[in-house]
């Protein structure tokens, strides 16, 4: 964990999942931080849905998202048209690089040198901070958790609680070293000093960058969910606001938002609602006294239109980024968010990241699961995550004739020996005579069976082959 923590995100090798997992498993602090946090989040979620017909609500959530995806291209055009009427400028980006360039160009046109940011996972996906820094523009995170992570030069370890891997002591030392705050274990004091430092930054920022939770096509409204107020500051105080979002975030009607909001906050943090639900439909009007004079929306594809092509993989795009799947994941809870080495960790990351980085890079992701099914059971929009994991595992070994690989980098884990073994296995089970012959031989030469069979015998003893096959024994009984 510590080795990756010191690296910036673009240096992390996603393929090195196993060494990182081993390190995290051996780190009692990481184990404790995540276990405590995830226990709390799970029980809060359960409490928040008390009295609700959760299954019906989840069905509605899934249907609302599905209906939006069914009309995605039309809705995106409607959204653009409405936003343009409202005075918002809309930009389209095929990939993360283009999205970064669009943000830079807006900054350059305004001669902007400092950017303040609200929490946005898409901007993490774009590695926007890093890019802007290279362009001589400073981007500062204003969400307290993101701010801590940025000071530590790390990446978020949870999509809702970015600094969940750190305890108070670590944060206190970090703030002391980087900002001169006194060493203290008082979260109130630490937060208050961050508030003061941040207020200066908000006042002086040239541009505010935020994410979007839902974009409503019928009214041209960008919705943001948050507790701290930094999102409102980011979108209100600087003279220019740039919202970045994935193209899948659009919904047709304002009404849809009520269902998704009810699901999102309860699933994420067990809150009935967050402190602020911020709906932005345009820049400051001429008679208004505050608010940004310019508002931009950057619609980012970055692999989403590829996921969109396939009926099964499409379900991935229903995601509303609540993080419930990671809160309930036994693997995530034990290895923590950084082990994955990806922007989105946990179950949703395992089904989303392979599309963004390819299955060659992300080959270990679909396998980092026990397929226990908890993620699928809590998903507010009923994404069948376990099914998608199985699908991606098939893709990673190139599937078969009925399920040929489609995802970028498919077949990365295919081994010709393994493929041959399975081919033989298939043949044997299709031909009874061959099956009897094969099992008979195995029984006869069982003494030659190797005692160690790779990973299987790491924690188990190898099963011993029986001296007689089942067929032989049945035959003897009948006699």
């Amino acid at each position: 964990m510590n080795t990756t923590a010191e690296q910036s995100p673009h240096q992390i090798d996603v393929k090195e999942f196993h060494p990182r997992a081993r390190a995290a498993l051996g780190d009692p602090q990481i184990r404790k931080n995540f276990r405590n946090a995830m226990n709390g989040l799970m029980s809060k979620r359960t409490a928040a849905f008390e009295g609700w017909d959760v299954e019906t609500l989840r069905d509605l959530g899934a249907n609302v998202r599905m209906r939006a995806l069914a009309n995605l291209p039309d809705l995106l055009e409607q959204l653009e048209q409405k936003l343009t009427e409202n005075g918002v400028r809309v930009h389209w980006a095929v990939d993360a690089d283009e999205a970064c360039r669009i943000v830079r160009d807006i900054c350059v046109a305004r001669d902007a040198k400092s950017v303040i940011k609200g929490k946005s996972m898409v901007s993490e996906e774009m590695e926007l901070n890093h890019y802007l820094h290279e362009q001589g523009i400073e981007a500062l995170e204003s969400d307290l958790g993101e701010y801590i992570v940025q000071l530590a030069e790390e990446t978020p370890s949870h999509i809702i609680m970015p600094a969940i891997h750190k305890n108070t002591d670590e944060i206190s030392k970090l703030l002391h070293e980087k900002t001169g705050t006194d060493l203290s274990h008082d979260a109130n004091y630490l937060t208050a000093s961050a508030r003061l430092q941040m207020r200066e930054k908000f006042m002086n920022a040239d541009v505010g960058v935020s994410g979007v939770n839902f974009a409503v096509a019928e009214t041209g409204t960008l919705c943001l969910v948050e507790n701290e107020g930094n999102g409102r500051m980011t979108t209100t105080v600087p003279p220019c606001h740039i919202a970045v979002t994935g193209i899948e975030k659009v919904v047709p009607n304002l009404e849809d938002v009520t269902a998704l909001l009810a699901l999102l906050t309860r699933s994420a943090t067990g809150q009935h609602i967050t402190t602020y639900f911020n709906m932005i439909s345009g820049p400051r009007k001429t008679d208004e006294l505050d608010g940004p004079e310019e508002v931009h929306l950057v619609l980012v594809d970055n692999g989403r239109s590829t996921i969109y092509q396939d009926d099964q993989l499409l379900d991935t795009l229903r995601c509303i980024r609540c993080g419930a799947c990671m809160n309930h994941c036994p693997v995530y809870t034990r290895v923590g968010g950084h082990t994955y080495g990806t922007t989105y960790p946990g179950p949703i990351g395992k089904i989303l990241m392979p599309h963004l980085i390819g299955l060659d890079e992300g080959r270990h992701l679909p396998s980092a699961s026990s397929l226990c099914g908890a993620c699928g059971e809590v998903c507010p929009v009923k994404i069948p995550i376990p099914d998608l994991l199985v699908r991606l595992r098939q893709e990673a070994v190139d599937g078969d004739r009925l399920h040929p690989g489609k995802v970028k980098g498919h077949g990365a884990k295919r081994s010709s020996v393994e493929a041959m073994i399975w081919k033989g296995w298939g043949l044997m089970h299709a031909k009874p005579a061959l099956y009897r012959f094969g099992t008979g031989i195995a029984a006869k030469f069982r003494k030659l069976q190797p005692g160690k069979i790779g990973g299987w015998t790491q924690y188990r003893t190898a099963p011993a082959l029986a001296p007689k096959t089942l067929h032989q024994r049945m035959k003897e009984r009948q006699q």
Binding site: W92, G229, N230, A262, I273
Partner: protein, 219 residues
């Protein structure tokens, strides 16, 4: 081809063919017809559970209640709208009573007085456009009369709510007020004071926005 066309073309030429849009039945969000009293009780319970403070009062007494609450907090300046009903009432009251903090009117563009707003104003006082019982949420539609930062920057936010404008759910409020026909530049649901749990899940109030949210309910 522009990026827009590239993206839209990929989406339109979907290899999986057309997707059937399912029906969406929102009845699961519906709540029984609660009376105003029931809605108010629930609203109070919910917003208090997230550290909001509720005081029930009347049209003739709310200014006095407010004065007491602000005095107990040692507030020296309060920011109000120069034209909105609540602001006008306080402007008038400030002439006749001396237990209110100094009155500050939000009557010029933020650029002219940003530093002052961020460092010296103690309280922002706003109206509301109703509230939601189920989640304990205030509905705010900031406007030219009542700008956005009033409810965000000062450490205390006082909101005046008419009990008659309580809705059971967000869904009901949105439908009743016909939001889909026209949205303001900024609309907000506010449920409690600003908070964070980013430092080892310890709950702290007032991280970027107000440390306290006080709701005066006029019955």
């Amino acid at each position: 081809m522009s990026s827009k066309d590239t993206i839209l073309q990929r989406l339109r030429n979907r290899s999986g063919g057309e997707i059937t849009a399912p029906d969406c039945d929102f009845s699961v969000l519906r709540r029984p017809d609660w009376s105003t009293g029931e809605k108010l009780d629930l609203f109070q319970k919910m917003i208090e559970s997230v550290h909001g403070e509720v005081h029930r009062t009347t049209e003739s007494e709310w200014v006095g209640v407010l004065a007491g609450l602000l005095q107990s907090r040692g507030a020296r300046t309060m920011l109000v709208s120069p034209v909105q009903k609540i602001g006008l009432a306080l402007k008038e009251a400030a002439n006749s009573r001396d237990d209110l903090p100094d009155l500050l009117l939000y009557d010029e563009a933020i650029e002219q007085w940003q530093e002052e707003l961020f460092t010296t104003v103690d309280v922002g006082i706003t109206s509301t456009r109703g509230a939601i019982a189920e989640t304990g949420s205030l509905i705010l539609w900031p406007s030219a009369d009542e700008p956005r930062l009033m409810s965000l920057v000062p450490p205390f936010h006082v909101a005046v709510l008419y009990a008659s404008e309580l809705y059971a759910t967000f869904h009901e409020a949105m439908q009743a007020q016909r939001w889909h026909e026209s949205m303001p530049t900024n609309a907000l649901l506010v449920s409690g004071p600003s908070k964070t749990a980013d430092i080892e899940q310890t709950l702290v109030y007032g991280v970027h926005g107000p440390k306290e949210l006080i709701v005066l309910v006029i019955e």
